[in-house]
Subunit: 260 residues, 2 copies
Amino acid sequence: MKITSTANPRVKDLVRLRNRRARNETGLFIVEGFREIRRAIDHKIVIRELWVCPELFLGEQEGELVERSGAEIVEASVEPFRKIAYRDRPEGLLAVCEQFDTTLEHLRVSDTPLVLVVEAIEKPGNLGTMIRTATAANADAVIVADQTTDVFNPNVVRASIGTIFATPIAVCSSDDAIAWLQHKNIPICAATPNAETSIWDARIDGALVVGAEQYGLSEQMLDAADVKVRIPMPGDDEIDSLNAATSASILLFEALRQRS
Amino acid sequence: MKITSTANPRVKDLVRLRNRRARNETGLFIVEGFREIRRAIDHKIVIRELWVCPELFLGEQEGELVERSGAEIVEASVEPFRKIAYRDRPEGLLAVCEQFDTTLEHLRVSDTPLVLVVEAIEKPGNLGTMIRTATAANADAVIVADQTTDVFNPNVVRASIGTIFATPIAVCSSDDAIAWLQHKNIPICAATPNAETSIWDARIDGALVVGAEQYGLSEQMLDAADVKVRIPMPGDDEIDSLNAATSASILLFEALRQRS
């Protein structure tokens, strides 16, 4: 079928998935762009519908990707596609996917686990960037504790450039995260500006915990931490001098350095 | 004076400053929010107008800040203020400032210089985050080479949380940046995924150069580099696995670690 009108009810249903409530009710979410959809297919995410607008294709590999998707193909003309697209410059590919398992129970960790734990991160772009960096650092998993951001938010998917499909993700309360980490004997290394020990003087490994910029880590997370470290900031002593994604990247790559 | 209508011509003039052309023509730019305006005042940025909407104030220190600003105060009611505000949740403070000097000539560096050089960064939020991180790391300066992003873009100011006023910034061509660094005897350390040497096996210091995610560094910058390093990424071998701001933060804090 080909959709030519922005008033088509399927267009409206799709636009609705930008809202969290509609995502929760349907169990679906949106993935846009070639790179992101390729990663979704590679990691066996179930694609219900793949919307295509060949006029907007940028490259020559789109056809192959469409064939591999195993999804219902919905062709749209430029106008309705621009309406469903989340990006300013759409690439003519948008997938409606089934939400995947984000329970703690499905996480598997290696013998030398490296897990990024983020507490109460508000900005979807920040969360997506952290997942991207954790993937580059080969972290076993990302745990989103006390979620205020929906990991299926389109901006999380976009900032993660689809790495959200590559690295296992769990969403849970901070208490459940702590219990799980302790059960797995994964030491908790919490970054907090008030710590005395610098990241260069401590063992950075196990579960690396980063909190929201404005409020820092929860009491229970600080109590549960085996090690508390601060990122030295010679240039500015304000608590919020690094954004949460930046803090996470510095911690992850310091852990890699210490292992190398 | 108090502005009560969104149709007021001063409201329109101010909204126009979101466009680069209007900023270039007037030599002005917008700074929004308590923290950001406080930093502008602390660093002696000239504030032409300070727009206030007391109904939207969040705290109790706004009055003091308004007094310190030395600017013409323009009071606005909620409706016109929401129109000029750039943020979703405005805090009732917005300053119209004069653009400051961003020539290479005004930069001063310490005896042990640490400079962040960013080439052709497209996203304003990324550039602002890099300036924020460079400030936390106490870098001497940030050089924006081959600008595609205007440093006076409101999203740069916002993501920098006003650190753009704390750390000297220069905007110039890559050739001029290279000539200036060589004249100052500052070694150039370029991050590129194709380098053989890891950041942990090289001296990370001097001018740390990071390029755009999609295109990497320019030929002339790679040719001029005294050291080329790569950020090891065990988890993913795609070139774009770290965003540019993440790469910058890893380099800057590795430089700090090596100095510590």
